[in-house]
């Protein structure tokens, strides 16, 4: 009997260099449907580059990236955009459109992707998504009026409003206080369960990883240095991991 391929993301031998600096070297990762993969690593170790390669913002030098079986590096921009409609991306700085209100930010992808969707339906969807992130009252605010945590929530709401199958999070808790950071992490986990999404989370926040991760990988020197569940990584006797996680625990 042939088993159905449950891998939603499959990365094979991915290499990305910036001039002479190798950021990712022969990286291979599989992410199965419904899984939450956390990517650890120190700053500048290529975590965000990995996400940007997956979503097509950066083009790797070599390797293959399959999303639902399609190699996104070998398709036209039109076909890539079809796949992108099924991917949500939460940027490190939230990347809210600062010329639009929260309502405008959330309705923008809906209006573009579903031009025939009635205004009432768009408005209901915006309100429902804001309810999911507990920020209904912010609907008519401008991004400049929001706190860091609120921006993350709105960024998250904008990313999930089109019901993506795959969510990519770039440092979702960076710059937030520990309590807000925990709240955002729990929110991500709850949404993932509720909306049955697959997630790849780039972070160096251990608390966030402990809440979210089903599995974690650790990038070091452009390679996957360690792989396993969070407990395996934090309990590891490896001096580097011990050092890294002890610092993270102190921070947390």
């Amino acid at each position: 009997m042939v088993m159905a391929d449950t891998r939603i993301v499959k990365i094979e031998n991915l290499t990305k260099r910036f001039e002479t600096l190798s950021v990712l070297e022969n990286i291979s990762i599989d992410v199965t449907h419904g899984e939450n993969l956390v990517v650890f690593g120190r700053s500048g170790q290529g975590k965000s580059v990995l996400l940007k390669c997956i979503v097509g913002l950066l083009h790797p030098d070599t390797g293959k990236i399959f999303i639902n079986g399609t190699n996104v590096l070998e398709i036209s921009i039109r076909e890539l955009n079809k796949i992108r409609k099924n991917i949500g991306f939460l940027f490190q700085g939230s990347a809210l459109y600062d010329s639009m209100t929260v309502r405008g930010n959330l309705s923008f992808p809906l209006k573009r992707h579903f031009p025939d969707m009635p205004a009432k339906e768009i408005d209901d969807k915006v309100k429902y998504t804001l309810e999911l992130v507990s920020l209904e009252e912010a609907i008519d605010k401008m991004p400049s009026e929001l706190s860091g945590g609120m921006k993350k929530r709105i960024g998250l709401a904008r990313s999930i409003i089109t019901d993506p199958e795959l969510m990519l999070y770039d440092e979702p808790t960076t710059g937030l206080d520990p309590i807000t950071s925990k709240e955002i992490s729990e929110l991500i986990l709850n949404l993932q369960k509720k909306l049955e999404m697959t997630s790849i989370v780039v972070t160096h926040d251990l608390i966030c990883a402990e809440i979210i991760a089903d599995r974690a990988i650790f990038l070091k020197d452009a390679k996957i240095a360690y792989e396993g569940n969070i407990k395996e990584l934090t309990d590891s006797d490896d001096p580097f991991l011990k050092n890294f996680f002890s610092h993270e625990l102190i921070k947390a």
């Binding site: 979503v55 490190q92 600062d98 992808p109 089109t162």
Partner: protein
């Protein structure tokens, strides 16, 4: 669309400046080709173009009104003694009108527009670039070039000719005020002199070149903003270089277009 990257830093060599010059020319050319390719493909974003036109018009109306009025006023005040000296005071309204219609109105409006709009577009798109808003658009399968660049370039191209015609009218009115103050010329006589001295052919090249100037302002502002690198410092650089480059290109293209119009309409000479 792969654009060449310019070099930035505190210690640039002469070689780096020469490299940057050619990188800008190459980048602008590629950006221009991309614009032409995307401008004719749907969706046409009409509502966004209208929104930008109205915003740009409102943003610049005040400053171009004042500028236009002062140009007409000062030009008349400066020219009047000379014209009287040569016994040609009757030709003053015509001279002011021709100067304003053919050259001063379009070029000054374009330069003011470049200062006000090109820098604004450069800073706005630059800020969107460094805060990853453009990337956010791209990952949600929305074409940022089409939505941000094409709409703005079309809007600047369409609105500048309208503003130029408006400035010409205001400048001619400014000229009338100056003449009235100095020798109390009758308004009807002034307007008759203006209308009799301007031919329709004077308007065509004057206004036609403002389409090109508007295109330059939009394209340069968008190019500099869209390719911003280096955080907030990069945004400032995008804003400043947008004004400098678009003003320079306006003057260069003015020279080329004047020569071209004299070739196409020899009677203008």
């Amino acid at each position: 669309m792969k654009l060449p990257k310019e070099k930035y830093g505190k210690r640039l060599t002469y070689g780096d400046y020469i490299y940057n010059f050619f990188a800008t020319i190459t980048g602008l050319t590629i950006f221009n080709i991309e614009f032409v390719k995307q401008a004719f493909l749907p969706p046409y974003e009409i509502s966004e173009i209208k929104k930008h036109m109205s915003e740009l018009g409102v943003k610049t109306l005040g400053i171009v009104s004042i500028t236009g009025f002062i140009i007409g006023l000062v030009l008349t005040m400066q020219s009047e003694p000379v014209m009287i000296k040569f016994g040609a005071a009757d030709f003053l309204p015509g001279m002011v009108a021709i100067s304003v219609v053919r050259e001063l109105g379009p070029v000054i409006t374009a330069l003011i527009f470049a200062g006000r709009v090109s820098s604004g577009i450069g800073a706005e798109l630059g800020s969107m670039r460094v805060t990853e808003q453009i990337d956010a658009m791209e990952v949600t399968a929305i074409n940022p070039f089409k939505y941000l660049v094409v709409t703005r370039v079309i809007a600047t191209t369409m609105i500048l000719p309208i503003l130029s015609v408006y400035v010409i009218v205001i400048a001619i009115f400014g000229g009338f005020i100056a003449i009235t103050i100095s020798n109390g010329m009758n308004f009807v006589y002034y307007i008759n002199s203006v209308v009799n001295s301007i031919e329709f052919g004077d308007f065509i090249p004057g206004v036609a070149k403002t389409f090109v100037f508007g295109y330059i302002v939009g394209l340069v502002g968008c190019y500099k903003g869209y390719t911003t690198e280096g955080g907030t410092e990069g945004v400032g650089r995008a804003s400043t270089t947008s004004v400098v480059l678009s003003s320079l290109l306006i003057l260069i293209f003015d020279m080329i277009l004047v020569k071209l119009s004299l070739w196409l309409w020899p009677t203008l000479g």
